[in-house]
Symmetry: C2
Subunit: 226 residues, 2 copies
Protein backbone atom coordinates (compact mmCIF):
# COMPACT_ATOMS: atom_id res chain seq x y z
CA UNK A 1 0.00 0.00 0.00
CA UNK A 2 1.16 3.53 -0.78
CA UNK A 3 2.42 5.44 2.27
CA UNK A 4 -0.07 8.32 1.88
CA UNK A 5 -2.96 5.89 1.51
CA UNK A 6 -1.83 3.90 4.58
CA UNK A 7 -1.49 7.14 6.62
CA UNK A 8 -5.04 8.14 5.63
CA UNK A 9 -6.39 4.97 7.28
CA UNK A 10 -4.77 5.69 10.66
CA UNK A 11 -7.37 7.15 13.10
CA UNK A 12 -4.68 9.40 14.68
CA UNK A 13 -4.42 11.20 11.31
CA UNK A 14 -8.14 11.07 10.49
CA UNK A 15 -8.56 14.86 10.40
CA UNK A 16 -5.72 15.59 8.01
CA UNK A 17 -6.00 16.99 4.49
CA UNK A 18 -4.23 15.33 1.52
CA UNK A 19 -1.40 17.92 1.58
CA UNK A 20 -0.84 17.31 5.29
CA UNK A 21 -0.75 13.53 4.75
CA UNK A 22 1.86 14.09 2.02
CA UNK A 23 3.95 16.22 4.39
CA UNK A 24 3.76 13.42 6.97
CA UNK A 25 4.70 10.83 4.34
CA UNK A 26 7.96 12.71 3.73
CA UNK A 27 9.14 12.20 7.34
CA UNK A 28 7.91 8.65 7.84
CA UNK A 29 10.24 5.67 8.13
CA UNK A 30 8.63 2.61 6.49
CA UNK A 31 10.02 -0.31 8.52
CA UNK A 32 9.62 -4.07 8.53
CA UNK A 33 10.24 -6.16 11.64
CA UNK A 34 10.50 -9.93 11.78
CA UNK A 35 8.61 -12.07 14.26
CA UNK A 36 10.13 -11.66 17.72
CA UNK A 37 12.25 -8.66 16.75
CA UNK A 38 12.71 -5.90 19.35
CA UNK A 39 11.42 -2.45 18.30
CA UNK A 40 12.68 -0.54 21.33
CA UNK A 41 13.62 -1.16 24.96
CA UNK A 42 12.43 0.45 28.16
CA UNK A 43 14.46 3.53 29.03
CA UNK A 44 15.62 4.20 25.46
CA UNK A 45 15.27 7.83 24.49
CA UNK A 46 11.85 8.49 22.92
CA UNK A 47 13.24 9.70 19.61
CA UNK A 48 10.10 8.90 17.66
CA UNK A 49 6.74 7.19 17.72
CA UNK A 50 5.22 4.33 15.73
CA UNK A 51 2.04 3.24 13.98
CA UNK A 52 1.32 -0.42 13.18
CA UNK A 53 0.41 -0.79 9.49
CA UNK A 54 0.23 -4.58 9.49
CA UNK A 55 1.12 -7.26 12.01
CA UNK A 56 0.96 -7.16 15.78
CA UNK A 57 3.12 -5.52 18.47
CA UNK A 58 3.50 -6.39 22.14
CA UNK A 59 4.33 -3.71 24.72
CA UNK A 60 5.67 -5.24 27.93
CA UNK A 61 7.70 -4.71 31.08
CA UNK A 62 10.16 -7.07 32.75
CA UNK A 63 10.19 -7.52 36.52
CA UNK A 64 13.49 -7.65 38.45
CA UNK A 65 13.26 -11.47 38.17
CA UNK A 66 12.85 -11.22 34.40
CA UNK A 67 9.12 -12.05 34.47
CA UNK A 68 7.25 -10.50 31.57
CA UNK A 69 4.10 -8.43 32.05
CA UNK A 70 2.21 -7.55 28.87
CA UNK A 71 0.80 -4.01 28.99
CA UNK A 72 -0.78 -3.77 25.53
CA UNK A 73 -1.12 -5.52 22.20
CA UNK A 74 -1.44 -3.25 19.18
CA UNK A 75 -2.63 -4.07 15.67
CA UNK A 76 -3.17 -2.29 12.34
CA UNK A 77 -3.98 1.44 12.58
CA UNK A 78 -2.91 1.74 16.20
CA UNK A 79 -0.14 4.12 17.28
CA UNK A 80 2.25 3.19 20.07
CA UNK A 81 4.70 5.16 22.22
CA UNK A 82 3.10 8.33 20.83
CA UNK A 83 2.00 9.67 24.22
CA UNK A 84 5.51 9.31 25.69
CA UNK A 85 7.15 10.72 22.56
CA UNK A 86 4.74 13.68 22.22
CA UNK A 87 5.48 14.50 25.86
CA UNK A 88 9.23 14.19 25.27
CA UNK A 89 9.74 11.26 27.65
CA UNK A 90 11.77 8.05 27.41
CA UNK A 91 10.10 4.80 26.30
CA UNK A 92 8.34 3.51 29.43
CA UNK A 93 8.35 -0.18 28.34
CA UNK A 94 9.71 -2.65 25.80
CA UNK A 95 8.18 -3.19 22.34
CA UNK A 96 8.50 -6.33 20.24
CA UNK A 97 6.95 -7.52 16.96
CA UNK A 98 4.76 -10.56 17.74
CA UNK A 99 4.39 -11.38 14.05
CA UNK A 100 6.13 -10.05 10.93
CA UNK A 101 4.99 -6.42 10.97
CA UNK A 102 5.09 -3.32 8.81
CA UNK A 103 5.49 -0.29 11.04
CA UNK A 104 5.70 3.43 10.30
CA UNK A 105 8.25 5.37 12.35
CA UNK A 106 7.86 9.13 12.92
CA UNK A 107 11.02 10.87 14.21
CA UNK A 108 10.05 13.28 16.97
CA UNK A 109 12.24 16.19 15.78
CA UNK A 110 10.87 16.05 12.23
CA UNK A 111 7.31 15.78 13.52
CA UNK A 112 7.83 18.79 15.80
CA UNK A 113 9.27 20.75 12.86
CA UNK A 114 6.24 19.86 10.75
CA UNK A 115 3.89 21.21 13.43
CA UNK A 116 5.89 24.39 13.75
CA UNK A 117 5.71 25.03 9.99
CA UNK A 118 2.15 23.89 9.77
CA UNK A 119 0.25 24.35 13.07
CA UNK A 120 -3.02 23.46 11.29
CA UNK A 121 -1.71 19.89 11.16
CA UNK A 122 -1.62 19.77 14.98
CA UNK A 123 -5.02 21.48 15.14
CA UNK A 124 -6.55 18.90 12.79
CA UNK A 125 -5.06 16.05 14.82
CA UNK A 126 -6.42 17.65 18.01
CA UNK A 127 -9.83 17.99 16.34
CA UNK A 128 -9.87 14.32 15.29
CA UNK A 129 -8.76 13.11 18.74
CA UNK A 130 -11.35 15.36 20.44
CA UNK A 131 -14.17 14.03 18.29
CA UNK A 132 -13.09 10.45 18.93
CA UNK A 133 -12.84 11.08 22.67
CA UNK A 134 -16.39 12.46 22.72
CA UNK A 135 -17.71 9.51 20.73
CA UNK A 136 -15.92 7.11 23.11
CA UNK A 137 -17.30 8.98 26.14
CA UNK A 138 -20.86 8.67 24.77
CA UNK A 139 -20.37 4.96 24.17
CA UNK A 140 -18.97 4.44 27.69
CA UNK A 141 -21.97 6.35 29.01
CA UNK A 142 -24.45 4.16 27.15
CA UNK A 143 -22.59 0.99 28.19
CA UNK A 144 -22.30 2.22 31.81
CA UNK A 145 -25.89 3.35 32.27
CA UNK A 146 -27.05 -0.22 32.63
CA UNK A 147 -24.97 -1.11 35.66
CA UNK A 148 -23.17 1.88 37.10
CA UNK A 149 -26.23 3.58 38.73
CA UNK A 150 -26.94 0.36 40.65
CA UNK A 151 -23.32 0.02 41.78
CA UNK A 152 -23.25 3.68 42.79
CA UNK A 153 -26.47 3.18 44.80
CA UNK A 154 -24.86 0.22 46.63
CA UNK A 155 -21.81 2.37 47.37
CA UNK A 156 -23.90 5.28 48.73
CA UNK A 157 -25.99 2.98 50.95
CA UNK A 158 -22.84 1.33 52.35
CA UNK A 159 -21.28 4.76 53.05
CA UNK A 160 -24.47 5.82 54.88
CA UNK A 161 -24.29 2.66 56.99
CA UNK A 162 -20.56 3.12 57.75
CA UNK A 163 -20.86 6.81 58.53
CA UNK A 164 -24.19 6.38 60.40
CA UNK A 165 -25.85 9.32 58.65
CA UNK A 166 -28.05 10.09 55.65
CA UNK A 167 -25.58 12.76 54.56
CA UNK A 168 -22.41 10.98 53.43
CA UNK A 169 -18.98 12.21 52.45
CA UNK A 170 -17.53 10.78 49.23
CA UNK A 171 -14.00 10.08 50.44
CA UNK A 172 -12.61 9.33 46.99
CA UNK A 173 -12.03 11.80 44.18
CA UNK A 174 -14.55 11.63 41.33
CA UNK A 175 -11.87 10.19 39.03
CA UNK A 176 -11.02 7.45 41.51
CA UNK A 177 -14.66 6.60 42.25
CA UNK A 178 -15.50 6.55 38.51
CA UNK A 179 -12.70 4.11 37.84
CA UNK A 180 -13.82 1.85 40.73
CA UNK A 181 -17.34 1.81 39.29
CA UNK A 182 -16.01 1.05 35.79
CA UNK A 183 -16.84 4.35 34.15
CA UNK A 184 -15.38 7.82 33.52
CA UNK A 185 -15.77 10.99 35.64
CA UNK A 186 -18.03 12.69 33.06
CA UNK A 187 -20.53 9.82 33.18
CA UNK A 188 -20.37 9.60 36.98
CA UNK A 189 -21.25 13.31 37.14
CA UNK A 190 -24.17 12.76 34.81
CA UNK A 191 -25.46 9.83 36.86
CA UNK A 192 -25.23 11.91 40.05
CA UNK A 193 -27.13 14.71 38.26
CA UNK A 194 -29.83 12.26 37.12
CA UNK A 195 -30.17 10.82 40.63
CA UNK A 196 -30.52 14.36 42.00
CA UNK A 197 -33.10 15.30 39.39
CA UNK A 198 -35.08 12.15 40.21
CA UNK A 199 -35.12 13.22 43.88
CA UNK A 200 -33.06 10.26 45.13
CA UNK A 201 -30.16 12.30 46.48
CA UNK A 202 -28.95 15.88 46.90
CA UNK A 203 -25.32 16.76 46.16
CA UNK A 204 -23.33 19.57 47.74
CA UNK A 205 -19.61 19.54 46.94
CA UNK A 206 -18.37 16.08 47.91
CA UNK A 207 -21.32 15.50 50.28
CA UNK A 208 -24.33 13.48 49.18
CA UNK A 209 -27.60 13.39 51.14
CA UNK A 210 -29.85 10.39 50.68
CA UNK A 211 -33.40 11.68 50.14
CA UNK A 212 -35.22 8.56 48.97
CA UNK A 213 -33.70 5.47 50.52
CA UNK A 214 -36.37 3.11 49.12
CA UNK A 215 -35.75 4.20 45.52
CA UNK A 216 -31.99 3.90 46.06
CA UNK A 217 -32.44 0.36 47.39
CA UNK A 218 -34.52 -0.65 44.37
CA UNK A 219 -31.76 0.71 42.16
CA UNK A 220 -29.10 -1.13 44.19
CA UNK A 221 -31.02 -4.42 43.90
CA UNK A 222 -31.22 -4.07 40.13
CA UNK A 223 -35.05 -4.12 40.22
CA UNK A 224 -35.24 -0.55 38.96
CA UNK A 225 -33.24 1.37 36.36
CA UNK A 226 -32.43 5.05 36.57
Amino acid sequence: MEIVEALGRVPLFAGLEPGQLQALARIVGDRVYGRGETIFSEGDEGVGFFVVISGRVKIYKLSAEGKEQILHLFGPGEPFAEAAVFAGARFPAHALALTASRIFYFPRAAFLGLIQQNPALAMNMLAALSLRLKAFARLIESLSLKEVPGRLAVHLLLLAEEQGEEEVRLDLTKTHLASLLGTIPETLSRILARMSKAGLIACRGSNVTILDRDALELLASGEERL
Copy 2:
Protein backbone atom coordinates in the same frame (compact mmCIF):
# COMPACT_ATOMS: atom_id res chain seq x y z
CA MET B 1 -10.79 30.23 41.14
CA GLU B 2 -7.63 31.52 39.53
CA ILE B 3 -7.55 31.10 35.73
CA VAL B 4 -4.34 29.02 35.72
CA GLU B 5 -5.70 26.73 38.43
CA ALA B 6 -9.00 26.30 36.56
CA LEU B 7 -7.12 25.51 33.32
CA GLY B 8 -5.08 22.87 35.13
CA ARG B 9 -8.28 20.97 35.99
CA VAL B 10 -9.46 20.74 32.37
CA PRO B 11 -8.70 17.25 30.95
CA LEU B 12 -8.00 18.78 27.49
CA PHE B 13 -5.01 20.59 29.07
CA ALA B 14 -3.98 17.72 31.37
CA GLY B 15 -0.54 17.28 29.81
CA LEU B 16 0.55 20.92 30.03
CA GLU B 17 3.37 22.33 32.13
CA PRO B 18 2.84 25.36 34.42
CA GLY B 19 4.47 27.73 31.89
CA GLN B 20 2.20 26.45 29.12
CA LEU B 21 -0.89 26.90 31.32
CA GLN B 22 0.23 30.47 31.98
CA ALA B 23 0.63 31.11 28.25
CA LEU B 24 -2.90 29.77 27.72
CA ALA B 25 -4.23 31.94 30.55
CA ARG B 26 -3.01 35.03 28.69
CA ILE B 27 -5.27 34.34 25.69
CA VAL B 28 -8.35 33.11 27.56
CA GLY B 29 -11.58 35.11 27.77
CA ASP B 30 -13.19 34.58 31.21
CA ARG B 31 -16.93 34.88 30.48
CA VAL B 32 -20.13 34.65 32.48
CA TYR B 33 -23.44 33.74 30.84
CA GLY B 34 -26.87 34.03 32.46
CA ARG B 35 -29.42 31.20 32.42
CA GLY B 36 -30.91 30.87 28.94
CA GLU B 37 -28.30 33.09 27.30
CA THR B 38 -27.11 32.17 23.80
CA ILE B 39 -23.37 31.46 23.48
CA PHE B 40 -23.28 31.04 19.70
CA SER B 41 -25.61 30.14 16.85
CA GLU B 42 -25.35 27.50 14.16
CA GLY B 43 -23.46 28.77 11.12
CA ASP B 44 -21.57 31.49 13.01
CA GLU B 45 -17.90 31.55 12.15
CA GLY B 46 -15.90 29.29 14.50
CA VAL B 47 -13.70 32.07 15.82
CA GLY B 48 -12.88 30.30 19.05
CA PHE B 49 -13.68 27.35 21.29
CA PHE B 50 -14.99 27.07 24.84
CA VAL B 51 -14.52 25.17 28.08
CA VAL B 52 -17.21 25.03 30.78
CA ILE B 53 -15.73 26.03 34.15
CA SER B 54 -19.01 25.99 36.08
CA GLY B 55 -22.64 25.62 35.08
CA ARG B 56 -24.17 23.67 32.21
CA VAL B 57 -24.36 24.20 28.46
CA LYS B 58 -26.80 22.78 25.92
CA ILE B 59 -25.77 22.19 22.29
CA TYR B 60 -28.79 21.85 20.01
CA LYS B 61 -30.13 22.09 16.50
CA LEU B 62 -33.46 23.50 15.30
CA SER B 63 -35.50 21.71 12.63
CA ALA B 64 -37.14 23.66 9.79
CA GLU B 65 -40.32 23.70 11.94
CA GLY B 66 -38.36 25.15 14.87
CA LYS B 67 -38.33 21.88 16.83
CA GLU B 68 -35.31 21.61 19.12
CA GLN B 69 -33.04 18.57 19.13
CA ILE B 70 -30.47 18.43 21.93
CA LEU B 71 -27.14 17.02 20.75
CA HIS B 72 -25.07 17.32 23.94
CA LEU B 73 -25.08 18.67 27.47
CA PHE B 74 -21.72 19.81 28.79
CA GLY B 75 -20.65 20.48 32.39
CA PRO B 76 -17.52 21.57 34.28
CA GLY B 77 -14.20 20.64 32.66
CA GLU B 78 -15.73 19.80 29.29
CA PRO B 79 -14.72 21.64 26.09
CA PHE B 80 -17.26 22.40 23.40
CA ALA B 81 -17.00 23.46 19.75
CA GLU B 82 -13.27 22.63 19.96
CA ALA B 83 -13.34 20.00 17.22
CA ALA B 84 -15.06 22.37 14.77
CA VAL B 85 -12.81 25.27 15.74
CA PHE B 86 -9.56 23.24 15.61
CA ALA B 87 -10.58 22.12 12.13
CA GLY B 88 -11.38 25.71 11.09
CA ALA B 89 -15.09 25.08 10.48
CA ARG B 90 -18.25 27.05 11.33
CA PHE B 91 -20.24 26.24 14.48
CA PRO B 92 -22.34 23.21 13.50
CA ALA B 93 -25.12 23.86 16.09
CA HIS B 94 -26.45 26.35 18.64
CA ALA B 95 -25.08 26.69 22.18
CA LEU B 96 -27.00 28.07 25.16
CA ALA B 97 -26.26 28.33 28.90
CA LEU B 98 -28.81 26.13 30.72
CA THR B 99 -27.81 27.62 34.09
CA ALA B 100 -25.67 30.59 35.05
CA SER B 101 -22.27 29.49 33.76
CA ARG B 102 -18.63 30.54 33.84
CA ILE B 103 -17.05 29.71 30.52
CA PHE B 104 -13.52 30.15 29.19
CA TYR B 105 -13.27 31.34 25.59
CA PHE B 106 -10.15 30.60 23.50
CA PRO B 107 -9.84 32.70 20.31
CA ARG B 108 -8.74 30.45 17.46
CA ALA B 109 -6.15 32.86 16.01
CA ALA B 110 -4.43 33.39 19.37
CA PHE B 111 -4.47 29.64 20.07
CA LEU B 112 -2.95 28.91 16.65
CA GLY B 113 -0.27 31.54 17.31
CA LEU B 114 0.53 29.93 20.65
CA ILE B 115 1.04 26.53 18.99
CA GLN B 116 3.25 28.04 16.33
CA GLN B 117 5.49 29.69 18.94
CA ASN B 118 5.35 26.69 21.22
CA PRO B 119 4.73 23.43 19.33
CA ALA B 120 5.43 21.46 22.52
CA LEU B 121 2.08 22.76 23.80
CA ALA B 122 0.29 21.01 20.92
CA MET B 123 2.44 17.91 21.45
CA ASN B 124 1.55 17.78 25.15
CA MET B 125 -2.15 18.18 24.33
CA LEU B 126 -1.86 15.41 21.73
CA ALA B 127 -0.12 13.22 24.32
CA ALA B 128 -2.85 13.79 26.91
CA LEU B 129 -5.65 13.13 24.41
CA SER B 130 -3.89 9.98 23.14
CA LEU B 131 -3.51 8.61 26.65
CA ARG B 132 -7.15 9.34 27.43
CA LEU B 133 -8.29 7.72 24.18
CA LYS B 134 -6.35 4.56 25.01
CA ALA B 135 -7.78 4.45 28.54
CA PHE B 136 -11.30 4.94 27.11
CA ALA B 137 -10.70 2.21 24.50
CA ARG B 138 -9.62 -0.23 27.23
CA LEU B 139 -12.72 0.61 29.29
CA ILE B 140 -14.99 0.14 26.25
CA GLU B 141 -13.26 -3.18 25.66
CA SER B 142 -13.86 -4.39 29.19
CA LEU B 143 -17.47 -3.16 29.13
CA SER B 144 -18.04 -4.69 25.67
CA LEU B 145 -16.51 -8.10 26.33
CA LYS B 146 -19.58 -9.13 28.29
CA GLU B 147 -22.08 -8.76 25.50
CA VAL B 148 -20.45 -8.00 22.18
CA PRO B 149 -19.05 -11.51 21.48
CA GLY B 150 -22.56 -12.94 21.88
CA ARG B 151 -24.09 -10.33 19.58
CA LEU B 152 -21.33 -10.89 17.03
CA ALA B 153 -21.97 -14.66 17.18
CA VAL B 154 -25.69 -14.04 16.48
CA HIS B 155 -24.76 -11.81 13.54
CA LEU B 156 -22.37 -14.40 12.05
CA LEU B 157 -24.91 -17.22 12.38
CA LEU B 158 -27.61 -15.09 10.72
CA LEU B 159 -25.23 -14.19 7.86
CA ALA B 160 -24.43 -17.90 7.39
CA GLU B 161 -28.16 -18.65 7.21
CA GLU B 162 -28.86 -15.79 4.76
CA GLN B 163 -25.91 -16.57 2.54
CA GLY B 164 -26.42 -20.36 2.82
CA GLU B 165 -22.73 -21.07 3.45
CA GLU B 166 -20.31 -21.54 6.32
CA GLU B 167 -17.99 -18.96 4.79
CA VAL B 168 -19.73 -15.59 5.07
CA ARG B 169 -18.91 -12.15 3.71
CA LEU B 170 -19.08 -9.27 6.19
CA ASP B 171 -20.94 -6.76 4.06
CA LEU B 172 -20.38 -3.83 6.43
CA THR B 173 -17.12 -2.03 7.13
CA LYS B 174 -15.53 -2.87 10.47
CA THR B 175 -16.34 0.63 11.74
CA HIS B 176 -19.99 0.26 10.79
CA LEU B 177 -20.31 -3.25 12.25
CA ALA B 178 -18.56 -2.16 15.47
CA SER B 179 -20.99 0.69 15.92
CA LEU B 180 -23.98 -1.62 15.30
CA LEU B 181 -22.67 -3.99 17.96
CA GLY B 182 -22.11 -1.10 20.40
CA THR B 183 -18.33 -1.12 20.43
CA ILE B 184 -15.33 0.34 18.61
CA PRO B 185 -13.38 -1.13 15.66
CA GLU B 186 -10.29 -1.89 17.80
CA THR B 187 -12.35 -4.05 20.18
CA LEU B 188 -14.22 -5.75 17.34
CA SER B 189 -10.84 -6.72 15.82
CA ARG B 190 -9.69 -8.12 19.15
CA ILE B 191 -12.89 -10.14 19.57
CA LEU B 192 -12.51 -11.57 16.05
CA ALA B 193 -8.88 -12.44 16.90
CA ARG B 194 -9.98 -14.18 20.13
CA MET B 195 -12.70 -16.12 18.31
CA SER B 196 -10.12 -17.22 15.72
CA LYS B 197 -7.62 -18.23 18.40
CA ALA B 198 -10.33 -20.25 20.16
CA GLY B 199 -10.98 -22.10 16.88
CA LEU B 200 -14.55 -20.81 16.42
CA ILE B 201 -13.94 -19.01 13.15
CA ALA B 202 -11.23 -18.29 10.58
CA CYS B 203 -10.89 -14.79 9.12
CA ARG B 204 -9.52 -13.92 5.71
CA GLY B 205 -9.99 -10.27 4.68
CA SER B 206 -13.69 -9.54 5.05
CA ASN B 207 -14.60 -13.24 4.84
CA VAL B 208 -15.29 -15.28 7.95
CA THR B 209 -15.53 -19.07 7.96
CA ILE B 210 -17.50 -20.71 10.75
CA LEU B 211 -15.40 -23.59 12.10
CA ASP B 212 -17.24 -24.51 15.30
CA ARG B 213 -20.95 -23.83 14.91
CA ASP B 214 -21.87 -25.39 18.29
CA ALA B 215 -19.48 -23.14 20.22
CA LEU B 216 -20.75 -20.10 18.30
CA GLU B 217 -24.34 -21.03 19.17
CA LEU B 218 -23.49 -21.34 22.87
CA LEU B 219 -21.90 -17.90 22.68
CA ALA B 220 -24.95 -16.51 20.84
CA SER B 221 -27.32 -17.93 23.47
CA GLY B 222 -25.32 -16.28 26.27
CA GLU B 223 -24.63 -19.68 27.90
CA GLU B 224 -20.92 -19.35 27.24
CA ARG B 225 -18.54 -16.41 27.41
CA LEU B 226 -15.55 -15.91 25.15
